[in-house]
């Protein structure tokens, strides 16, 4: 597993005091609709994979499912984008440069334990699955994914977002 030095630097930069960290977390919990956006607003999904091709293809699928998409090409960027863009859900690859998906999951969950994160990896061993679920991942999809798997994952994110808001979020 990669060192989290790079991620610590990111977090320190964005919230250098514990009060800052609390503010960061408080902000993170506010969903778009709580800030005045319409309830049926598009889900904003952050996808993180080092493969440009995979990001393009995943973006196409998610956009067909009515989501807006933000891309990150490694785990470090995923953490930065997650803090900056406050997505409704995250889809994370595991084997990535800089910071791997497991470490990125840990930091993203540390900042916001409620954010739905779907792991997308070629290594779907039971150990890996259990490890990520214990760390708070909502689901684990083994590559190559099918459009149906992504559609189900998006539905799960949507349900979780709705439950957190206490609203009915129509699919």
């Amino acid at each position: 597993m990669k060192s989290r030095e790079g991620l610590d630097a990111v977090l320190t930069e964005r919230a250098s005091t514990s009060a800052g960290t609390r503010r960061l977390r408080d902000t993170r919990r506010r969903w778009p609709c709580e800030e005045g956006a319409a309830l049926d607003t598009k889900l904003k999904i952050l996808i993180s994979d080092d493969s440009k091709l995979l990001r393009k293809q995943l973006r196409d699928v998610l956009e067909r499912l009515g989501c807006s998409v933000i891309e990150a090409e490694d785990g470090k960027e995923a953490v930065i984008e997650s803090l900056k863009e406050k997505p409704d859900g995250v889809i994370l690859d595991i084997v990535m440069p800089e910071v791997d998906g497991i470490e990125a999951l840990r930091v993203i969950k540390e900042v916001d334990k409620n954010i739905p994160v779907i792991m997308l990896s070629s290594v779907g061993t039971p150990e890996r699955l259990l490890e990520t679920l214990k760390m708070g991942a909502l689901d684990f999809i083994q590559k190559p994914y099918t459009e149906e798997q992504i559609s189900k994952a998006v539905a799960r994110i949507r349900r979780k977002v709705s439950a957190q808001k206490g609203t009915s979020h129509e699919e």
Partner: protein, 285 residues
């Protein structure tokens, strides 16, 4: 009964078919519908002699004839039609269509393949490694190649075979592209795909289902992703034997930087041309 997946490899190993003939059949087998007659022949549900006079019938009439005469029951015919054939049956259908075999020959070959004790893929690897004193690697490489060829059929929609008549498909002077990935932990293995640009692009297009007009980041991504997916499947297989492994990031290069002593280079032929599958326990790019 043995799956037909490795039927083509069996034919190559037993010299029932030549390398160039195998390539012809591979190309003709892509998307090939396998009719009820061949499915029934493979499962010994019908004999070549009974089949021959019915072969010119259109599919519906054939079904009616064999069920009407009690050669096949309705339920057997239905089950055969719904079964998804593995790679060997479209290949056999192509042999039949290209007149490289008749029904009688196929019946004999199916029986011999099903009775065979040796698995064709490990047998091919053992043949190529004979005399190299690599017993430990032979089993590991064979395990990996079986997963690789299965994935090739599942994700690219066409079979691959190990050619035994050449050890490489790559001419010396032409520019080539390599993608590789290291598997570490429970086993140490580095695998790679090396191909000329034309074949590399053809495979990349096939896997990604994208146009990929030229060799660029997307084409490399496609083949790296394919390798990553195959290695993930191999990791799952190893996991069942309680061998946990990690996958490194896939890498690419235009030439090999090292020639590890236990490097195995396999010429894999596919409907989209040949490439070399590289296996070693140390890095080569």
């Amino acid at each position: 009964m043995r799956s037909s997946q490795d039927f083509a490899q069996y034919l190559i190993n037993s010299q029932e078919i030549t390398g160039p003939e195998a390539r012809q059949c591979l190309q003709a087998s892509v998307g090939k519908e396998v009719g009820l007659p061949l499915r029934a022949l493979y499962l010994h549900a019908i004999k070549a002699d009974d089949l021959a006079p019915l072969m010119d019938l259109p599919p519906k009439a054939f079904r009616k004839a064999v069920t009407g005469r009690g050669i096949l029951s309705e339920s057997t015919a239905k089950n055969l039609e719904y079964a998804i054939p593995k790679a060997g049956l479209p290949f056999a259908q192509a042999m039949l269509d290209l007149h490289l075999a008749d029904l009688e020959k196929l019946e004999r070959l199916f029986r011999a393949y099903q009775k065979g004790k040796d698995e064709p893929v490990p047998e091919a690897i053992a043949t190529l490694l004979a005399g190299r004193e690599m017993e430990r690697e032979t089993a590991l490489y064979a395990d990996y190649v079986a997963v690789f060829l299965d994935a090739l059929y599942r994700f690219l929609g066409g079979a691959g075979v190990i050619r035994l008549d050449y050890t490489t498909c790559l001419p010396e002077e032409k520019p080539r592209q390599i993608v590789a990935q290291r598997i570490s932990g429970g086993v140490a293995l580095v695998v790679g795909i090396e191909a000329l640009e034309k074949e590399f692009l053809a495979l990349a297009r096939r896997y990604s289902r994208e146009e990929l007009p030229e060799m660029d980041e997307m084409a490399l991504d496609s083949m790296e992703e394919f390798l990553n997916v195959v290695d993930g499947l191999f990791a799952v297989k190893l996991g069942k034997r309680e061998l946990e492994v990690d996958l490194a990031l896939p890498v690419n290069a235009t030439e090999m930087h090292r020639q590890p002593a236990n490097l195995l280079r396999l010429f894999i032929d596919t409907p989209w041309g040949g490439f070399d599958l590289l296996l070693a326990t140390d890095a080569f790019i």
